[in-house]
């Protein structure tokens, strides 16, 4: 039942926010998101670390009840539910510093987005998963298209068509799989677990692999399906960028873990190398581009693309290390990237530029921002005892075990990551002040309250990763058992 409450509450809250006039909307949205966080926190602390789906519900929905409205939380879901519920209030709080037109719509869309994301991460029916997967696109599309930058119309249009196009493949695959279950018509099932037990021929495995792969690869994105991403991140208003980079791209990785690995394990074994090579190319390619970016947001966008490549590579290894690493890294990356975009937003709005070569010397005025920025940076460059290390360590070890050379190439991320991140830090914070950075204001109280939880999480995950790894391991082992 808890899952049902978790799924419905943000929807109801969003409707309430829609009804509110004026800037009050944001406070209500923030409180609602905090309550949602409380619910997720309750789930986190009362979760029994085994492979079962917990706190679930199950109602008949379509096709004589063979398609069901059912959801629940297992270890894999739990981690992403926590991520979503944790980041949403922080994203809302981080938006407080701006005054958006039509705030009630703006904040309601964020809550709708939260609901849809949580639906994706908890759905236990393939069509419900698909529904939420598509539904998650709408709020963020409107956020970007209505409140975005100058180029928002063509950019968001491309983003929309691109991702919709990809998920249509998944829909076809799901419909096909649905009809494969149970021979008499009445016994079809779209329960995700039912799809795990299908006996698919190698050909079927292959094409379903590709149908899923395109859908998820576009979402993450994996090289070469990423060209929608940097523009979208740059043009979107920062809260939408945070939703996209912090949570939404995890839908892709989650989809691979939840659907691809157990449903088409042989497909993954056959094509895993191809997927891994693409992912690893993305890691290096994205990082090298990030080194040369002058626009802060674009730099972070490419770094995010690079980081996601490693997560994708990890899950396609079909190893426990790879998948566990990807899960922890999803959590870590969500935290770091939201923090990074927030830093960029603060700097950009106070200097009225996003170009790093026009900045410098900010640290003189901002002891607090320097510390927060540094902590998030250390997380991003995977310094041990921060959150990024645990994920990258496990991911790289998984990839290295799969193939030494790919592992070594993927490992370049720790070098390039340091190059572009330290460059970003140095160009903005260090050196001489410029007219634009003169008299920079340090972070305010409410801005600090976005950073503090993020920084705590950086160290919590980095120092006590087992508090998360232990929760997810049974569920991951369960999914991986379908790999023969």
């Amino acid at each position: 039942m808890l899952t049902l409450i978790i799924l419905l509450f943000p929807v109801l809250a969003a409707l309430l926010v829609l009804a509110v006039r004026g800037q009050q909307a944001k406070q209500i949205a923030f409180i609602a998101a905090l309550i949602e966080l409380g619910l997720a926190g309750y789930a986190f602390f009362s979760f029994v670390p085994d492979a079962n789906s917990q706190f679930g519900f199950d109602y008949p929905w379509l096709a004589q009840g063979t398609i069901r409205f059912t959801a629940g939380i297992d270890g894999v879901s739990l981690l992403l539910v926590v991520l979503t519920a944790l980041l949403t209030p922080l994203i809302i709080l981080s938006a407080f510093r701006h005054t958006y037109d039509r705030p009630s719509v703006f904040y309601a869309l964020i809550l709708f987005m939260e609901a849809a994301l949580l639906g994706v991460f908890t759905a236990r029916d393939a069509f419900l998963f698909y529904l939420y997967f598509e539904a998650a696109l709408l709020p963020v599309y409107f956020l970007a298209a209505l409140w975005g930058g100058e180029n928002r119309i063509p950019v968001t249009f491309k983003f929309f068509v691109y991702t919709i196009f990809g998920s249509l493949f998944m829909l076809v695959a799901l419909v096909y799989l649905y009809f494969k279950t149970g021979t008499p018509a009445g016994l079809h099932s779209s329960a995700i677990t039912a799809l795990y037990n299908l006996n698919l021929s190698p050909t079927e495995q292959s094409w379903i692999f590709w149908a899923f792969f395109i859908a998820f690869a576009i979402k993450m994105p994996v090289f070469p399906f990423h060209t929608w991403q940097p523009d979208t991140y740059v043009e979107s208003p920062t809260p939408a960028t945070m939703l996209l980079a912090g949570i939404m791209l995890k839908m892709g990785v989650y989809g691979v873990i939840r659907l691809m690995l157990p449903i088409v394990p042989e497909g993954v074994q056959t094509w895993g190398m191809t997927a891994l090579v693409l992912s690893v190319i993305g890691i290096v390619y994205g990082a090298i581009i990030a080194i040369r970016q002058r626009d802060m947001k674009r730099l972070i966008a490419y770094s995010s693309f690079s980081h996601v490549g490693l997560m994708a590579a990890g899950v396609f290894t079909l190893s426990l290390n790879g998948v566990q690493g990807a899960l922890v890294q999803m959590l870590a990356h969500g935290i770091n990237v939201v923090g990074m975009f927030f830093v960029a937003d603060i700097i950009a709005s106070r200097t009225s530029t996003r170009l790093i070569d026009q900045m410098g010397g900010i640290t003189r005025y901002t002891p607090k921002l320097t510390v927060y920025f540094m902590i998030l940076l250390l997380g991003s460059v995977a310094l041990p005892l921060t959150n990024g290390f645990v994920g990258e360590f496990l991911l790289l070890s998984g990839v290295f075990e799969y193939n030494n050379i790919l592992g070594a190439v993927a490992g370049l991320t720790i070098i390039f990551g340091a190059v572009y991140m330290l460059r970003l830090f140095q160009k903005t914070m260090f050196g001489k002040t410029t007219p634009l950075t003169e008299g920079f204001n340090d972070v305010s109280g409410s801005e600090s309250w976005v950073f503090i939880p993020l920084c705590i999480m950086v160290f919590w995950i980095g120092m006590v990763p087992n508090s998360f790894l232990k929760l997810t391991e049974p569920a991951v082992a369960n999914l991986l058992q379908f790999v023969k």
């Binding site: 379509l62 919709i164 070469p224 581009i289 080194i291 330290l422 990763p465």
Partner: protein, 638 residues
């Protein structure tokens, strides 16, 4: 139980110091900053001494908690106290404490004083994790952590862009090494299913000599050591790292952090003993580094740069010792080098302090009169590093050279040439700085002064250690007991088991040993005299930068143009690639992918009819209606 507590306190105290001084930066009063900052290291040193004196010869493990657990792999957060970690603990906390005390005098008037002390404490914390960890991943925490502190402290004066660049270079170059280290850890995990030293080494001892996996592991780990301990080709960051405040150069870039690579190899001695190929390669790199850096040091005019190249060169000697299985000799040199090189840097700091932040030795001279304590201690350190008996450097370097001689005469010859250069550049530095007449401005001359007691006391202590340090391990040939070797002996038990022959009694007769000692001492003294003749008698000062130099000197002065080489073959291509990928690659990929999508749409009969309108709109409409229908159906049934 008490041991556990001590072991936990040792790294914890500096960490607490970091947190208080770091969080309270600008709020903690200046007087308190120094006390808080030095208290942690001092108490840690006391704890280390207690551990040392109470040590019974048995390896002690102090497990704290399970850090990362995935499947069968468990990485505990645990410490291991044994002979090797104890020696490192004493060096790190001992020399570390002295340098903290010195920093009170050196940095007190800097606006970032509290931050500085906090970073030094943090460095100590990570360094202690590095040497105390009971497995490779904990070592890696320390390994990367000290790299971070090095970055923060090199770029400490962060308004200066070239300092920031030096800091970034150090971090990135170290990261190149760290990648090797990390891959080495992965291979260890694959081969042994564990990263705990005890388990790994016990299993490794069952491997044959020259086993391919072990060779790969040792090579990868050594790549890490190349970065951290500044060996060819990853050494160029260390001279640049001199941008940091001088106590940092002494602590991090001379006495402790840069010796982490040697510690790692000695720690993994079983693996290296199993892999003679790796040892040969290390030997080649080590001697090349030692000679290359020493030759650059001959012509540098920045007091800290000379010392930096000297450090690179000395690290080469340490690796040379390891490569010929003189593990103890390598560790011995780590110890004596920590004494005299820290002393040299602190002395240089005292000089720089006195001459208003000037670092060019062409503008010094005659400082003997004005800074007597600094002069005498610097002189002692110079004699020690030059390898003149009975000071510390003589014993440790001699032991390395002796092992090299047994292994390969050529290595020995090259090693002796290197020590000739060492002696020359060190005495050149000494004479140019302290002898002759003062060459700086009149204004500076009036303000020349000896440093305060917080700075000179550490100098004196280190000078004493530089004199007596060698007696910790006097060779048998000189009637000593080789106490350090005795103490460290159990560390090499497994190595001895896998290759007993390599650990046999020395083949050299006493007279041969005397001859070797005689030659290296003579060489050092002759070089010192040559430097005296050149810089004191003939007073031939190094030319100004504008003067055209002869080719050889020019190449040395420009450090063999290695930085320029890296710039051309690595940095610029990567930048070019970044620009090309961004401007051209993205365009092409976007074109291909969207073009393919467009073709698919073209080919699809159903979609062809939609061409008249906006495809996006139709897709959009479709999704919205699907969603609406599904929702509706749900609520109707529900």
């Amino acid at each position: 139980m008490q041991t556990d507590l001590l072991a936990i306190l040792i790294p914890l105290l500096p960490l607490i110091g970091f947190i208080i001084n770091g969080m309270g930066f600008r709020h903690v009063p200046k007087g308190l900053v120094g006390i808080l900052g030095t208290l942690g290291p001092l108490v840690s040193f006391a704890c280390s001494l207690l551990l040392f004196t109470g040590f019974g010869g048995q390896t002690i493990k102090v497990p704290l908690f399970d850090w990362i657990t995935v499947g069968h792999l468990n990485i505990p957060f645990a410490f291991q106290i044994d002979q090797l970690s104890l020696i490192m603990l004493l060096i790190v906390t001992g020399v570390g404490s002295l340098i903290h005390i010195y920093s009170i005098g050196y940095m007190k008037h800097d606006e970032g004083y509290g931050k500085f002390m906090a970073f030094l404490n943090l460095f100590l914390f990570f360094m202690l994790l590095l040497v105390m960890g009971s497995n490779y991943v904990i070592m890696f925490i320390g390994w990367e952590g000290v790299g971070l502190c090095s970055y923060l402290l090199i770029g400490f004066w962060n308004k200066n862009t070239s300092y920031n660049n030096a800091a970034r270079k150090a971090f990135v170059m170290n990261r190149i090494g760290d990648l090797g280290f990390l891959l080495g850890i992965f291979m260890i995990m694959g081969a042994f299913g564990s990263v705990e030293y005890t388990e790994v080494f016990e299993q490794a001892a069952g491997f044959p000599i020259g086993d391919a996996t072990v060779v790969a592991i040792t090579m990868l780990l050594f790549v890490g050591a190349m970065g951290k301990s500044a060996q060819i080709p990853l050494y160029t960051w260390l001279p640049d790292a001199m941008a940091g405040p001088t106590p940092v150069s002494a602590l991090i870039h001379a006495a402790t952090m840069v010796t982490a690579g040697i510690y790692m190899v000695v720690r993994s001695n079983v693996l290296y003993t199993l892999s003679p190929v790796t040892l040969e390669i290390i030997g080649g790199i080590a001697i090349a580094t030692a000679l290359l850096a020493a030759s650059i040091g001959l012509v540098q005019n920045d007091i800290k740069k000379v010392l930096a190249y000297s450090t690179v060169s000395q690290l080469g000697y340490m690796f040379l010792g390891l490569s010929v299985m003189g593990y103890t000799a390598g560790m011995f040199h780590v110890m004596t080098h920590a004494f005299f090189k820290a002393l040299l840097f602190l002395g240089a700091g005292s000089v720089i302090h006195a001459v208003a932040d000037e670092q060019d030795i062409r503008k010094m001279g005659g400082l003997r009169k004005y800074l007597p304590i600094t002069y005498w201690t610097f002189l002692i350190a110079t004699i020690a590093i030059a390898g003149i008996p009975p000071f510390a450097g003589f014993f440790s370097k001699d032991e390395i050279l002796m092992h090299a001689y047994q292994h390969n005469k050529l290595l020995w010859v090259l090693g002796v040439i290197g020590s000739a250069m060492t002696s020359f550049y060190m005495f050149r530095l000494l004479f140019l700085t302290f002898f002759g007449r003062f060459r700086g401005s009149e204004h500076t001359r009036e303000h020349l002064h000896e440093s305060p007691a917080t700075m000179t006391v550490p100098l004196v202590v280190l000078a004493v250690l530089s004199i007596i340090g060698g007696f910790f391990n006097v060779p048998e040939a000189l009637g000593g007991e080789a106490r350090l070797a005795e103490f460290l002996n159990p560390i090499f038990n497994l190595s001895r088991r896998v290759r007993p022959s390599a650990f046999g009694e020395t083949l050299l007769t006493h007279s041969e040993e005397y001859m070797l000692m005689g030659i290296s001492t003579a060489v050092a003294i002759v070089s010192a005299i040559a430097a005296y003749v050149m810089y004191v008698q003939r007073v031939s000062l190094p030319e100004a930068d504008t003067v055209e130099r002869p080719v050889v000197q020019k190449v040395l002065y420009n450090k063999y143009y290695v930085d320029e080489l890296y710039e051309t073959i690595i940095v610029k291509p990567v930048r070019g690639l970044g620009d090309t990928f961004y401007s051209f690659g993205e365009f092409i990929i976007d074109g291909i992918v969207t073009g393919t999508g467009w073709l698919v749409q073209q080919a699809s009969g159903q979609l062809r009819r939609l061409q008249t309108g906006s495809i996006g709109f139709y897709v959009f409409a479709m999704v919205v209606s699907i969603a609406a229908i599904l929702c509706l159906r749900f609520f109707v049934r529900f």
